[in-house]
């Protein structure tokens, strides 16, 4: 109990404190405070023109298309290229599509085990590269959104923003994290797998590789794709509790800082404070719930002579302590990271509901940049309803919200349940899904539900019992990830583009304040009602049904 409290306080509290200066730096960076760097970036890109929301969106899409094309080619040709000491062969086209889509969209859903599928070159120049640039894409999009809301005439220049995010934010922190991880035991070598003979004389082949560099950016950019199959439960990815703390820190720090960055760029730090409060409150509720639910011993061991005094241990690593597995589960799914510090498939049913809820809401800090963008959509809905309730035609920071904005916001918000529930329905009712399950009954349903939730939320974690490296799974989740990524980025930019064109009205005591507790409560309620009403039936048939069955 005490250890849990200390751990949560250290990770969440510490990251919240550190996010403040980082957010301040990011806001300064994206406001062009570092002119020399910007000049250099303009020279590198050969472009520094101001872009409106359309041009910015097109630039973003074109660069992401280049990302997709390059990595798709690299993964397809890995067996012909160097840096392949373990001789990885060609992968199937649908796995290549899925993997590329997964990393381009910052999802890092992995339908493979890295150590037995990809060459070091594919992992580094393909996947790790995407972990940098896809994260940078999200941060850039947030910067553009903030500029629009702040009332700047243009949204900035995507190519400059991307470099600012990649070179000035992600790269330096990744370096620090990578070096700390390497020192604490995460391998960093280009040698192939190690051959050893065990004490009992058996042969064991131990996969290794340039993991430290990879793991650092995977956490920092809310990517989450593991270098090794079981992700951050693998001892090489997460060798000590201290490494574990550094990684959890890395997962959540930039999403938190993005809120402050947004607040500073729009000149409304107290508004950001309210948003941060809502996100933090939801996160803490989820953390408390998952830790509490996971403290219950595994029901599978109940009738056996097994001493269970430390909660559910299936799928957990002893060196990481009793708290970090569930804590990590809450953090990684709240931030759209998707790396796992314990096997989510083996969580107690209600504990397993928490990560799903995190992905359904997808904005309790959320992915780098995009978490705040998702929150923007909820803010639009919240201020719309709240605005009417204070007797005014609704507006956000003086921008009137009318049919067009609402249409766009609703489009983006609906896409999430459509992708998740639609996909789940299709796979739950057909052999595409049913034949790939590791567990039967309600838990099997949860596996399908989780997979689509993770894809649509660009999270990437999984109930990994699912045999998901099949053509239907690879194609379907690949498409879901692409829609789930670009719609919620481009639509808010369009909304802001539309808001920017309107006469801005001044705020007064009669306008709805977007600061303080009242607004926070309204936003919280909006998120909860929206999420609960949409996903409650599915939750009832998955984790809740499993739980109540277990209880009997």
């Amino acid at each position: 109990m005490l250890a849990s409290l200390l751990t949560v306080a250290l990770i969440v509290g510490g990251a919240a404190l550190l996010s403040w200066p980082l957010g301040r730096f990011m806001a300064a960076l994206f406001s062009g405070r570092y002119a020399k760097a910007d000049i250099l970036f303009a020279r590198i890109a050969g472009s520094s023109k101001d872009q409106d929301w359309k041009a910015y969106s097109v630039a973003l899409l074109v660069f992401n298309a280049v990302m997709f094309a390059f990595v798709f080619a690299l993964l397809s040709l890995q067996h012909l290229l160097p840096l392949n000491p373990d001789g990885q062969g060609p992968a199937s086209i649908h796995l290549i599509f899925n993997t590329t889509a997964s990393f381009v969209t910052n999802t890092n859903l992995q339908h493979y085990s890295g150590e037995s599928t990809w060459s070091y070159l594919a992992q580094l120049a393909g996947l790790m590269w995407l972990q940098f640039v896809s994260a940078a894409t999200g941060i850039a999009a947030l910067a553009a959104l903030a500029r629009g809301i702040a009332g700047h005439p243009s949204m900035g220049n995507f190519f400059i923003d991307l470099q600012r995010a990649a070179f000035c934010v992600l790269l330096p922190i990744a370096l620090v994290v990578a070096l700390s991880l390497a020192a604490s035991g995460v391998p960093m070598t280009l040698e192939g797998a190690a051959q050893v003979t065990t004490l009992e004389g058996a042969a064991q082949t131990i996969a290794r590789g340039p993991a430290a560099a990879f793991v650092a950016i995977k956490q920092l950019g809310t990517n989450g794709g593991g270098f090794f199959g079981p992700n951050s439960t693998h001892p090489f990815e997460n060798p000590t509790l201290w490494a574990n703390f550094i990684e959890m820190f890395a997962i959540i720090i930039i999403p938190m800082a993005c809120v402050w960055m947004f607040g500073r760029m729009i000149g409304r730090i107290r508004h950001a404070g309210a948003i941060f409060g809502v996100m933090a409150a939801l996160l803490l509720v989820k953390i408390t719930a998952v830790i509490a639910f996971e403290a219950t011993p595994s029901q599978a061991f109940a009738d056996l002579p097994i001493e269970q005094n430390v909660g559910n241990l299936e799928g957990k690593e002893l060196r990481l302590g009793a708290t970090t597995g569930p804590l990590w589960a809450a953090i990684t799914t709240s931030t759209s990271n998707g790396s796992v510090g314990a096997m989510h498939d083996s969580l107690n049913p209600l504990a397993g509901l928490v990560p799903m809820a995190g992905m359904w809401l997808n904005e309790t800090f959320g992915g780098v940049g995009v978490g705040m963008i998702n929150m923007f959509l909820y803010i639009i809905v919240a201020v719309f309803v709240a605005g009417m309730m204070v007797g005014r035609t609704p507006e956000y920071l003086g921008h009137r919200i009318e049919g067009r904005e609402m249409r766009l916001a609703v489009l983006a918000l609906i896409s999430h349940p459509v992708l998740i529930l639609g996909g789940t329905a299709l796979f739950a009712a057909t052999s595409w899904g049913v034949d790939t399950l590791a567990n039967s009954g309600a838990h099997g349903f949860s596996e399908i539900l989780y997979e689509f939730s993770s894809s649509a939320a660009n999270n990437g974690s999984g109930f990994e019992g699912l045999g998901d490296n099949t053509a239907p799974w690879n194609w379907a989740t690949g498409i879901v990830m692409l829609i789930g990524r670009y719609l919620p980025i481009l639509v808010p930019l369009a909304i802001v583009g539309s808001l920017m064109a309107k006469r801005r009205s001044a705020e007064s005591a009669g306008t709805l304040s977007v600061e303080g507790n009242t607004f926070g409560i309204m936003l919280l309620i909006t998120i909860l009602i929206f999420g609960a009403l949409t996903f409650f039936p599915a939750a009832a048939l998955g984790p809740i049904a499993e739980h109540v069955t277990l209880m009997r």
Partner: protein
């Protein structure tokens, strides 16, 4: 205007009939949520009939379900029809007035022809004599007449209409009760004030406001989300090895989609306009009513709004060396012929004195001289603005006395009063202190507005000194002194550039540009046609203080919409807990624990939820029509209050309601 009470028989019966008329899909489709409800109700009906034919299913249960589904749609229609009906009754009487109108058109050759009013065109000139109804909107171009406008305003006191000036506009349907006037028609047939009013009160020309459109989008979005949430359930059930009957799915879907707010949405809008009409204010569009709620700057004319219309004499200030009695007597004499309230107040303050001397001639006030008074033979007793009096006396005035006069008058001006100089011949006697009387309670009103985030600006022709002092006394936030119509327009533009929404009222033709520029421009009905065209509201009582109430009505309209939206969505929590266990208990029996309300059977649970969903619409009709209680307070407290009542209430109420209905349904053996 006479207004019918909420559920009067003569309103309810036609509304019931209209509920069925409105089932026409072409009408329904304007409201996507209700349209969807009707479509799925139709599907449920077909399924029920098919099940009856093949003898499967539970006919009693399905029959009731279908019944309540249709009732949901009908209740929504009823709410709208009832709201419209209240206007329609009034429109009926207006229309009958209009149909009787006959015009006497003046022809080029000077003769008069009698034609139906509907054939009049803009530019025609008609003559209206005593006892006739004015056939069309227009401007008086010749004559003066006393006109009874009760048909429009409900106010039976006649008003004067005359050519030129700010009282030249006349409205079709009003009656000339004395004299005769020639009117130049300004409105084309069908677009006159009366026509517009008929359309407005009927709600026929009602366009959705931008806010209603946005809300409809949100509600449609929610409907789509629930379509997905419910539409995927059969597949989920198939995974669990069960199935869910189509009528049950439809019941769940209809219970979840925001039928409550959708059914009441147009009723709320119509009722908002209606509240304004009852308040004797005509809004030309729903948009104007909503804009009223957004007002952040309020321009108020000093006279009649902040101060009671007339200034009152409060003190006589003699110049040094002048006996007070001399001043009082002279002031009194000079005011004897003055019938303005100011003049009368001077006489009253002076007390008893001589009657009007024989042969005295009044000196009339003209805009050139700006003095008035009395000629008694060669002796001219005058009073007027200090400058005007000094100008009239010219160098005949004693310079020392003139300086003293200025000094005295400045003192009065500084204290907010208006100084009126009095002279007997060439001798300056002193000044009368005319005081603006600030209306009782106005200070509290301004404080209230300030709490609502509304800045008040007083518009006055007074000098800055006087204006500042009234500002201090009345608590108004700011003032625009010596205001010309151009200043007013410039002020509005400046405020708007700063993101403010501005409301004002005006009556004169020179107010028209400012009225048009402001976000809410309330034209006085006594004003000119130009002013009435320029504003987006017309105040039939011509009472400028009403601006404050108009803002309240606008806010109330939006709050009602927001509150019922919140209520509607919050209801879904309980409905989930009623219906989902009923459906899922077949798939996973242990999910029965979700039946927290302890509803009798799955069928009764579903039925109860759908019954609650239907009857909540008529239950909320009074709230939709009257509007939620509105008290001026800061936005944050307003939000918390409404969240508590309609959010929390919306979560709790259906738990109780559904449970009660379930007890009844189970008790009656309906399911």
């Amino acid at each position: 205007m006479e207004r019918a009470s909420l559920f009067e028989r003569k309103l309810v019966v036609p509304a019931l009939r209209d509920s069925f008329v409105k089932l026409d899909p072409r009408t329904l489709v304007r409201n996507p949520v209700m349209f969807t409800t009707a479509v799925v109700a139709a599907v449920a009906t077909v399924v029920m009939v098919r099940n009856l034919a093949i003898g499967s299913g539970d006919p009693l249960f399905e029959g009731q379900l279908v019944f309540w589904l249709w009732l949901t749609v009908l209740f929504g229609n009823f709410a709208e029809a009832l709201a419209e009906g209240r206007g329609k009754a009034q429109a009926q009487s207006l229309r009958s007035t209009k149909d009787q109108l006959v015009a006497y058109r003046l022809l080029q050759n000077g003769s008069v022809e009698e034609i139906p009013a509907t054939q009049l065109h803009a530019g025609d000139v008609v003559r209206v004599i005593q006892g006739q109804l004015i056939p069309a909107d227009g401007e008086v171009i010749a004559g003066v007449a006393s006109v009874n406008e009760a048909a429009i305003t409900g106010e039976s006191a006649p008003v004067i209409r005359e050519a030129g000036g700010d009282r030249s506009a006349v409205t079709a349907g009003t009656m000339v009760i004395a004299d005769q006037i020639d009117i130049k028609v300004t409105a084309e047939p069908g677009s006159g004030f009366l026509d517009r009013m008929i359309a407005l009160v009927e709600g026929a020309s009602r366009q959705k406001t931008p806010n209603e459109i946005a809300l409809t989008v949100l509600l449609t979005g929610l409907t789509l989300i629930f379509l997905i949430a419910v539409g995927t359930l059969p597949a989920f059930a198939a995974y669990a090895g069960g199935e869910i009957a189509v009528p049950v799915l439809i019941a769940l879907f209809v219970a979840l989609i925001p039928t409550t707010i959708s059914g009441l949405l147009s009723a709320i809008g119509i009722a908002g306009m209606d509240r304004l009409i009852r308040f004797n204010v005509l809004a030309k569009s729903g948009r104007a009513v909503e804009a009223a709620g957004d007002i952040s700057t309020l321009l108020l004319d000093k006279t009649g709004t902040i101060t009671i219309g007339d200034r009152q004499a409060s003190e006589f200030v003699p110049l040094p060396g002048v006996a007070l009695g001399d001043l009082v007597a002279a002031a009194r004499l000079s005011s004897l012929a003055d019938t303005t309230p100011e003049g009368r107040s001077i006489v009253a303050l002076a007390g008893d004195g001589d009657a009007m001397p024989e042969g005295a001639e009044p000196i009339a006030f003209t805009s050139q001289t700006r003095v008035s008074g009395l000629m008694i033979g060669e002796r001219a007793l005058i009073k007027g603005a200090v400058d005007a009096v000094l100008r009239r006396l010219g160098d005949k005035a004693d310079p020392t006395a003139a300086a003293a006069l200025r000094q005295a008058s400045e003192g009065i001006a500084r204290s907010g009063g208006t100084p009126l100089a009095v002279a007997d011949g060439n001798r300056l006697l002193g000044v009368v202190h005319l005081k603006d009387i600030v209306k009782a309670g106005i200070r509290e009103r301004f404080a209230e507005l300030r709490r609502m985030g509304i800045r008040t600006v007083m518009i006055t022709g007074d000098n800055p000194l006087t204006a500042a002092s009234i500002t201090a006394e009345s608590g108004v936030d700011d003032f625009l002194a010596e205001a010309t119509p151009e200043d007013k327009l410039a002020l509005i533009r400046k405020e708007q550039a700063g993101g403010k929404l501005v409301a004002m009222c005006g009556d004169g033709t020179n107010d028209a540009p400012a009225l048009a520029q402001s976000d809410v421009g309330v034209a006085m009905n006594t004003g000119t046609q130009a002013a009435r065209e320029a504003g987006n509201m017309v105040d039939l009582d011509s009472d400028p203080t009403k601006l404050i109430e108009i803002i309240g009505i606008g806010k109330q309209l939006l709050m009602t919409r927001g509150a019922l939206t919140t209520f509607s969505i919050a209801n879904d929590v309980a409905k989930y807990f009623a219906i989902l266990p009923a459906i899922f208990v077949v798939l996973y029996p242990s999910l029965g624990v979700l039946n927290v309300m302890g509803l009798a059977t799955p069928s009764s649970a579903i039925l109860s939820a759908i019954i609650f969903n239907a009857i909540i619409i008529p239950l909320l009709v009074p709230l939709a029509l009257k509007g939620v209680a509105y008290r001026p307070m800061p936005a944050a407290s307003q939000l918390l209050r409404n969240l508590g009542i309609y959010g929390l209430g919306g979560v709790v109420a259906p738990f109780i309601g559904i449970k009660l209905i379930d007890i009844a349904v189970a008790g009656l053996g309906l399911a």
